[in-house]
């Protein structure tokens, strides 16, 4: 894959790689540290499974193409509790519950008898990082296979122990069925000493997993397995980890982006009681018995610091800056048919530009890490979606082997694609090394809003060519800076060209929930509306007459039916001050369509009154969690659509706080209605990202419907559409 993200991965045609997801890290070979297993899991048996090279490593972990290895996936304790291990993290998307369900389904055990150890680099196989909606399509099947293999082991061992025919045996509720009367055999028996020998053989790699039509645990509404701990305030997030003798750290930040530290005097802070002050190149940090003392030390040192600042483009000149710094090559251009000819012969040609701002993930829990050194062994607890990458970063920073580093990610307070980096882990480890005590660093909200990374801003040029009948015969879509995902045209058009251009983006950029799909869907779906208006056709009809795939069509029909689109559209042409709009799209193998209704307030401002979203991601694994993900995506998408935008000037953030950067709150919630299409005949794919992409263009189109003003920029500010 090239670093621009243009080539398509082979394993899944629909997954466009995101350049911001790519990581040119070293090849990380995973070694299991067996001592850790004994310490954490206690007695019992470990079951290893053959691990193919992880398909999503190019997105999630470092390197790729690792050969097949054996890795410990499962542990069965003498009491029959099964522990399953994965490198995936729980950041609120519900992976812990869903993976537990997947294991329980194949083991035929109740959810309560399956434990999951997640994201501990010393434990279990490397399933890659948590990104790109890959947990459902990749890790759920991997865990199901391993657990189905364990179930088969149980049957085979019972068959040989009781001289029964394995084919006549089944497993229910963790117990073998079909044994001679009075005989019992379950997972606890597998862990018994007498059967250890039976387990020393290869697990069949092609073991079959249960069919979605037969699911009894997957596919069923299953509440969060850690729900009680969460409502009880007992769950320990990364920022809640406390180690004996732990200090708290604060880092000196530059006054503006790119500023270089020329001079600082740490004498005064070194004299402060209990303070460890560290300067190591540009890194200046302070550890103290509490965070207030560390902050005092930092602020004292900061007063005398001298910096050399650097020019930095402001958010006001952002879109010009992106355009002028765009790469000139056309390597990323995907052409179908002869778009240039289509535009020459067209009866009508439209061309518009769309803008999308930098926004931030702003997870409720800012970056946090606790680092502890013991005899050159480093353990770090941190909130990251990429534990293996963080371990690699630490190994590079401290020039030590990865076998000396253990990274543990406790279930974390939000990610949304914003926690792929390991800077806070490196900071905590540097201070802990100097202080010779464990150190905890928790970024402040302001640090998170300034020094984390952002969803890239973008400029998108779209052009369309219509023939005399109103048929779309040519399409062009060029994305500057924000990314290539979902840039492909989902409607049937004979001639099209899509292109992604690298630019010199002024802010540190990275992944985000659905990333560039939101930008590309906003431009495409808004422009489809413009074309429909130019052709004089209902926007739903216009889309359906350039037929998208059956699955996209299905969600479009489902959403518009529930919304009552045909009637609403017809009625609304005569109504004032309200508008309806729709949008749809596909990304990462799932399909979404959203209809929205807006109302114009008497003062000219607007509000989103209601939205209907239809979503399809194959066979539904947990309807409760799916509903939450879809609702959460739509509500979060409102923020980027209506208000969220990072503003900066002279290398400083102008709105690095929740007071100035307004995210959706409870009262912002419109009336939401959701249609979930359950395709049990199709493999399940992820659902935590794609449902976010439809709401912004649906609102923009609804505003046009209400006031006949086109919105071509996100967020939609009131001054953009105010009717004349």
């Amino acid at each position: 894959m090239n670093p621009h993200g243009h080539s398509r991965p082979t394993e899944m045609e629909f997954t466009e790689p995101e350049r911001y997801e790519l990581h040119e890290g070293p090849f990380y070979h995973f070694e299991i540290n067996r001592r850790e297993f004994v310490g954490v899991l206690g007695a019992g048996i470990l079951i290893s499974v053959a691990m193919p090279a992880v398909a999503q490593r190019a997105r999630g972990g470092g390197g790729g193409g690792r050969p097949v290895t054996l890795a410990e996936r499962l542990h069965i304790a003498p009491d029959g509790v099964v522990t399953v291990m994965t490198s995936k993290v729980e950041v609120g998307q519900g992976s812990r519950t869903q993976l537990t369900q997947a294991a329980a389904e194949e083991l035929t055990l109740p959810v309560a008898r399956v434990r999951l150890i997640m994201a501990d680099t010393a434990m279990g196989p490397d399933d890659g990082g948590t990104a790109g909606s890959r947990t459902t399509p990749s890790t759920v099947p991997a865990i199901r296979k391993a657990c189905a293999a364990a179930r088969q082991l149980l049957i085979d061992t019972a068959a040989s122990a009781f001289s029964a025919d394995a084919k006549s045996l089944t497993v229910r509720d963790g117990k073998v069925q079909g044994l001679p009367a009075g005989k019992e055999f379950g997972y606890a028996d597998l862990a018994a000493e007498s059967h250890r020998e039976a387990l020393k053989r290869e697990v069949a790699p092609n073991v079959s997993v249960s069919d979605a039509a037969q699911w009894t645990i997957l596919g069923v509404e299953t509440p969060r397995v850690s729900g009680s701990d969460i409502v009880g305030g007992k769950h320990r997030y990364p920022s809640d980890i406390i180690r004996p003798g732990m200090l708290y750290g604060k880092i000196l930040r530059a006054p503006s982006f790119g500023a270089q530290l020329l001079r600082i005097d740490l004498q005064a802070t070194r004299a402060m009681e209990g303070v460890t002050a560290v300067q190591d190149g540009d890194f200046v940090g302070f550890a103290a018995p509490n965070s207030f003392a560390a902050e005092q030390a930092r602020d004292t040192a900061a007063k005398g610091a001298e910096w050399k600042t650097k020019a930095h483009p402001s958010s006001d000149e952002l879109y010009t800056h992106l355009r002028t710094t765009a790469s000139s090559g056309r390597s990323g251009r995907n052409v179908k048919g002869t778009p240039e000819d289509a535009f020459k012969t067209a009866a009508k040609k439209l061309r518009e530009s769309y803008h999308i701002a930098y926004i931030q993930h702003a997870p409720m829990e800012p970056r946090a890490a606790v680092a502890e050194w013991k005899d050159d062994q480093l353990t770090v607890w941190t909130g990251s979606q990429q534990p293996a990458r963080v371990r690699g970063d630490l190994a590079q920073a401290f020039r030590i082997g990865q076998d000396k580093i253990r990274v543990i990610v406790p279930d974390t307070g939000g990610g949304f694609g914003g926690k792929h980096s390991g800077e806070v882990a490196v900071e905590a480890a540097r201070l802990a090394k100097a202080a010779q005590k464990p150190v905890c660093i928790r970024w402040t909200r302001e640090e998170e809003f300034t020094w984390a990374y952002f969803r890239p801003a973008g400029v998108i040029d779209v052009a369309g060519a219509l023939d005399e009948t109103g048929k779309l015969i040519g399409w062009e879509h060029v994305n500057f800076n924000s990314g290539a995902s979902a840039i492909a045209m989902p409607y049937a058009v004979a001639n099209s060209a899509t292109e992604f251009k690298n630019c010199d983006g002024p802010l540190r950029s990275g992944s985000y929930r659905a990333l560039a799909s939101t930008a590309n869907a906003f431009a495409r779906e808004s422009f489809m509306d413009e074309l429909a208006a130019a052709a004089g056709v209902d926007p739903l009809q216009f889309r359906l007459s350039h037929p998208p795939s059956d699955r996209l069509r299905a969600v479009l029909i489902a959403a518009t039916d529930r919304f009552g689109w045909k009637k609403e559209w017809k009625n609304n042409s005569t109504r004032q001050k309200t508008g309806v709009g729709l949008a749809c799209g596909t990304e990462k193998g799932s399909y979404v369509a959203t209809c929205a209704r807006v109302e114009i307030n008497p003062d000219g401002s607007y509000k989103v009154v209601s939205a209907v979203t239809a979503f399809e991601c194959g066979a539904i694994q947990n309807p409760l969690n799916l509903q939450a993900q879809v609702d959460g995506c739509v509500a979060m998408g409102l923020g980027g659509a209506l208000r969220e935008e990072m503003r900066f000037k002279d290398g400083r953030m102008l709105n690095a706080s929740f007071r100035q950067y307004r995210v959706p709150r409870l009262k912002d919630l419109p009336e939401l209605d959701t249609v979930l299409l359950n395709r049990k005949d199709l493999p399940s794919v992820g659902a935590g990202e794609t449902p976010i992409i439809g709401i912004a263009p649906a609102i923009a189109n609804a505003l046009f419907n209400a006031v006949q003003v086109r919105i071509r920029s996100l967020p939609i500010r009131n001054d953009q559409f105010r009717p004349a």
Partner: protein
């Protein structure tokens, strides 16, 4: 609410208030005079942080004092028990709860009272512990999420949050729960609109507002029990 008493020139604060999702409306402009902190940091050529310092009342107060301060012994009631801490009086209640008393159920989310993840009850009333100094807590009765429930039973608010699955990452949940517990203590018949008003001061960044609203409605309707598999 904002302390005054320094010698500097005035400072303009514009408060943006959102009502519904109908965009930004400037509701009020308040000119605050004599903000010593702002004058101090504007005189300081280099500040440790990059962005504009948040207009946090707490930070203003604590920075007006000299850097060197003696620890003070501060006593208060915590989850029904007497508690004594020795601390710099300027530290936040939030930091002392988490760092000195290891009560990590109360969360940091913003440090400016905007997200309310740090909500605790002070004399039964919900307050943002990131905006309360430990000195201010002295002599009062405090309750944190760890103090809720009795004999292993959850508080009805926690129970309803579980029933309605009003949690995704769950980081905002202790704050939401404490606010609702405080409202219900003050008024057992607190209605939906009052609860929604109070929770609108909180942020759930997973935007799990649909289920949070369901929990509020269940509480408003008298919290009938609903079977939940755990």
């Amino acid at each position: 609410m904002i302390e005054s008493g320094g010698q500097s020139s005035g400072f303009l604060i514009v408060i943006f208030i959102f009502s519904g999702n109908d965009g930004i409306k400037i509701k009020s402009k308040i000119t605050i005079k004599n903000q010593k902190l702002i004058a101090t940091s504007s005189r300081t050529p280099v500040t440790p942080s990059l962005a504009g310092r948040s207009v946090s009342r707490y930070h203003h107060r604590c920075r007006r004092r000299p850097v060197l301060a003696m620890n003070k012994t501060i006593e208060f009631k915590l989850n029904g028990q007497s508690q004594r801490v020795s601390s710099d009086p300027r530290r936040t209640l939030l930091d002392v709860l988490r760092e000195d008393l290891q009560l990590t159920g109360t969360k940091y989310g913003c440090g400016e009272g905007q997200c309310r993840a740090c909500t605790v009850l002070l004399d039964g009333k919900p307050v943002a512990s990131c905006q309360t100094s430990i000195e201010e807590a002295g002599g009062h009765s405090l309750e944190t999420i760890e103090g809720l429930g009795r004999d292993g039973q959850l508080d009805p608010v926690q129970e309803v949050f579980l029933q309605e699955q009003a949690l995704q990452c769950g980081y905002c949940v202790p704050g939401l729960v404490m606010t609702l517990v405080g409202l219900r203590r003050a008024n057992a018949r607190v209605n939906e609109a009052e609860m929604v008003d109070a929770l609108n001061r909180h942020i759930c960044r997973c935007c799990g507002y649909v289920n949070i609203l369901k929990a509020v409605r269940r509480l408003a309707s008298g919290s009938p029990k609903k079977e939940v598999v755990r």
